[in-house]
Amino acid sequence: MSKRNNVVLLSSDDDDGSINRSLSSNHCYKTKPKLKNSTTSRRLKKPRLSTSQTRFSILHQINLLDEDFNEMFTGSKVSPDTQRSSTLEQWVDKYKPCSLEELAVHKKKVEEVKSWFEERLKASKGVYKNNVLVISGQAGVGKSAAIHVIASHLGAAVCGWNTPTPVLWQEHLYNSGAGAQYTSKLDEFENFVERIRKYGIISTSFTGESKPSAILLIDDLPMTNGKAAFGRLKDCLQLLVYSTQIPTAILFTDYGNTDSADYNARCLEELQLSLESSGACKVAFNPITTNSIKKTLFRICQMEHRDVSADHVDNIAKASGGDIRHAITSLQFFCLKPNQVHSLSLFTHSPGVLKDECNKPVRSNDGYYLHYGRDETLSLFHALGKFLHNKRETQSSIEYDQDSFLIQERFSRLPLKMDVPEKILCQSHAQPGLVTGFLHENVLDFLDDEAIDDAWTLSSYLGDADILLAKLRGMLSSDSDTGSVLQSAAASVAVRGVLFGNSQPLSSRWHTIRRPQLWHVEKASLHKKNEMLRLRFPACKCLSSYHISVMATEYMPISKLLGNRACGVYHEPHQELLKNMDMEDVGFDQMSLYEQLETSDDDIEDW
């Protein structure tokens, strides 16, 4: 496949050349190039819409001139990959759905999208004001597949914008030597939209045919950084919604599960809203059900003549979390295993365990699972919410048999209604210090008004966590192993302490989770301390220096009373200081980032 690409490259398709090059430069992602190759090859059939011709033509020249360079990248490095990929095509591409029946997406949704397009394609221009459909859904639920299938079903051509592979900075430097201008993806996108609006799709490749109906597909939008760029993108898209004549589908990939603190995810959400408000229709694709994934997987197994047990397919389907692309890749990966017999025998061992407790197969072979499990991430706030709300079963489900040791009543708690706390912590990728800080800040809100004993237990445990964290200070950086163990121990103590301590969790109430004030306080006191250090020497008239605590407890209060007579200029009520700090926190999402920065500062200082 890639070989074909190389040929293409020589036959002066400069666009793909650039992609190919950047592909080869990050060839360490062994699976990705293959995926992308497929998209590029698909794109060959489409009209070339990219507008930044200057850059590419120069690039092309460079490519031709600098053969060594080319060879180094495309020849020597890519070819080993391509050899393999030609024998083993990605199943995701191989079994791309070709008909509506094959689509794993829910029938209703497909129908909805299909009819939407049908109406617009049939109708003459100007009937529908809104020609934009926004499709959202998490990765791998078949958004683009659905469009392609529907388009081919309706006999329309799909043309579109795919995020071009970004130009690497080094590459740009290299090019700029030859006089090429750097055009950002955003610029390119704007140009593209402009052209679409003005001219519709003017395609050279369709010249032979009689004006086919076309669907415009805008897959992943260009990434934006900063407010200005984001604003531009928003305006640009709104313009598109208002003025486009061609039925257009804009795909949004939801990162529903990931950190809500992620700036980009927030932006995308905002974009969607703005699009809808300017009149675009919206269809949300749900994650694909396990059953339909299973169906697809079985179909593939059949076609590949692989014998994969039903249990197995079931596991893969469950683990994929509704991402069919992932499921198929997992399946392929699984079938790839050189010692399949062995692994299957391994697997038949574990069902031995399963027989006893069939009702929870997912748990029992967790380790095995990880091979094809999706990495589930939780947002920090999600995790904190779980800990703070402390949801528990209403009654203990564990029967007391002779093995389980007895706990005094005041120490026993009902079983948790969540995963093991450590697992949640791990999924949220939060720093222990941060978690402890947040828990400390917020936990009192979740306590019953009478439960001062609980408050004590909690705060004592948080203190324990703090002591564990503090042990890190004196440690050399070489002991990073011990360090990380201590860190996770501290987080675990904090979380479990909070869970245990809150013995009568309140019924769910809605609370905002505040950021820890602690950081403010530390920063402010540091500021104050420096202030005092500066004053220290003038204050004691150069004979000797006072200790900082003496300054704080005796000089400062007195000098306030004396009205600045003695200690030089001392006035800075900290309220003012706090106000300044508050101005700093621009948005909730940037905040956690800011705090993480702060923690690292803190660490550095400790060294």
């Binding site: 400390h440 009192l444 809100d445 306590l447 019953d448 008004d449 009478e450 439960a451 001062i452 004993d453 609980d454 408050a455 004590w456 909690l458 705060s459 004592s460 948080l462 203190g463 703090d466 002591i467 964290l469 503090a470 200070r473 004196g474 050399l476 602690l518 306080v521 402010a524 006191s525 104050k528 005092m532 250090l533 220290r536 020497f537 204050a539 004691c540 008239k541 150069c542 004979l543 000797s544 220096s545 006072y546 200790h547 900082i548 605590s549 003496v550 704080a552 407890t553 005796e554 209060p557 007195i558 009373l561 004396l562 007579r565 003695a566 900290h574 200081l577 706090l578 400790d606 060294w607």
Partner: protein
């Protein structure tokens, strides 16, 4: 200039409170050599004053010509080099630093900086007698164990060129090795009578009329801290003069604040109140009031208001959490735990007593 500085005795002969020690010190430096010295005693007892006077005795008025300098040392610590910034007070013959300002790098401070200083022998303009430098180290009790170990080594190695004057609040935290190499001088806090004497002396110098018992009242409030007594004396002077015998002696604002916290705690015991208390504690911390002082003051205020049976328990928990505060990093966690514990104890006490 504050009275504290204005009336600080400049020479050993003028020292009022610790006159006996001063005389002995004078004998020590004039008659024979000066050993390494370790001054210890509570805050505000006059250690610094004695040290300054001692330096003056050794080097003459030149010891008072000091300059403040921010110096940065590059220290090679194993794999990487660290920059350590410290403020020093220097005269031709002595240097004063607080190595514990360097935090966790104090070990390097002691090892390298002191070594460095000790090596650079002072240049005597007259060219006679090598002479020696005096290094005044503040807060040696706050140095880590490692730092104290290396300090000991430095003392032995460079004792020919350099004399150390160490100064700290509690000698418990200074290792035996260092203590045994120094002449230990305990500076006790002046008694209330002594403080009153000093205040009356200052009053006379300033030409003030002191009602009888006024000085004694300030002395009583000062908790045997002379510096504080003089400071509040001056505040009284600014706030109201001529003095009246009933005049209120202004307390420190942070102390009032803590007493407010204490009554808050006594009034209501609930997580909500705990949260409010936290806010107030933050306020104090922002103002750089050291956490152990907050805790101590809080205990003081609580003890004043409690029945005897509870006092023991309060002591117990205060010392327990104070220790944990030392081990930990974030003081607020531990102070808060103490407050929570107190609330819980007090609440059950109330329930047991009044039902």
């Amino acid at each position: 200039m504050l009275w504290v500085d204005k009336y600080r005795p400049k020479t050993l002969d003028h020292v009022m409170v610790h006159d006996l020690i001063a005389q002995n010190l004078k004998k020590l430096v004039t008659e024979q050599d000066c050993p390494h010295l370790l001054f210890y005693g509570p805050s505000g007892s006059g250690k610094k004053t004695l040290i300054m006077a001692l330096l003056r005795q050794m080097f003459g008025p030149g010891a008072e010509k000091v300059k403040v300098e921010n110096r940065t040392w590059k220290v090679d610590a194993g794999s990487r080099s660290i920059d350590i910034e410290l403020t020093t007070l220097q005269s031709a013959n002595h240097t004063e630093i607080s190595p514990s300002d360097a935090g966790f790098q104090d070990r390097y401070v002691v090892q390298e900086i002191i070594k460095d200083m000790a090596k650079n022998r002072p240049i005597d303009t007259k060219g006679k007698k090598g002479g020696f430098k005096v290094l005044v180290l503040n807060d040696v009790d706050k140095l880590s164990r490692e730092a104290q170990h290396s300090l000991r080594r430095t003392m032995e190695k460079y004792s020919a060129y350099c004399r150390l004057i160490l100064c700290c609040n509690s000698s418990s935290r200074v290792t035996e090795a260092i203590r045994s190499r120094c002449l230990n001088v305990r500076i006790n806090a002046p008694s209330e009578e002594q403080i009153a004497d000093v205040l009356e002396f200052i009053g006379k110098k300033e030409g003030l009329q002191l009602p009888s018992g006024f000085a004694a009242r300030i002395a009583e409030k000062s908790n045997r801290n002379l510096r504080r007594a003089i400071l509040s004396f001056e505040t009284c002077r600014v706030q109201q003069y001529p003095f009246t015998s009933k005049q209120a002696i202004p307390p420190m604002d942070w102390e009032e604040y803590i007493s407010e916290i204490a009554s808050d705690i006594m009034k209501e015991q609930s997580p909500k109140r705990l949260f409010q208390v936290r806010g107030k504690l933050y306020e104090l911390l922002i103002n750089c009031i050291p956490p152990e002082i907050i805790l101590k003051r809080l205990v003081y205020e609580l003890l004043r208001k409690l029945d005897d049976e509870l006092k023991h328990e309060v002591c117990h928990w205060a010392s327990y959490y104070e220790h944990r505060m030392r081990l930990g990093q974030k003081a607020i966690f531990h102070i808060e735990a103490f407050v929570a514990k107190f609330m819980s104890v007090y609440k059950s006490f109330l329930i047991a007593t009044f039902g």
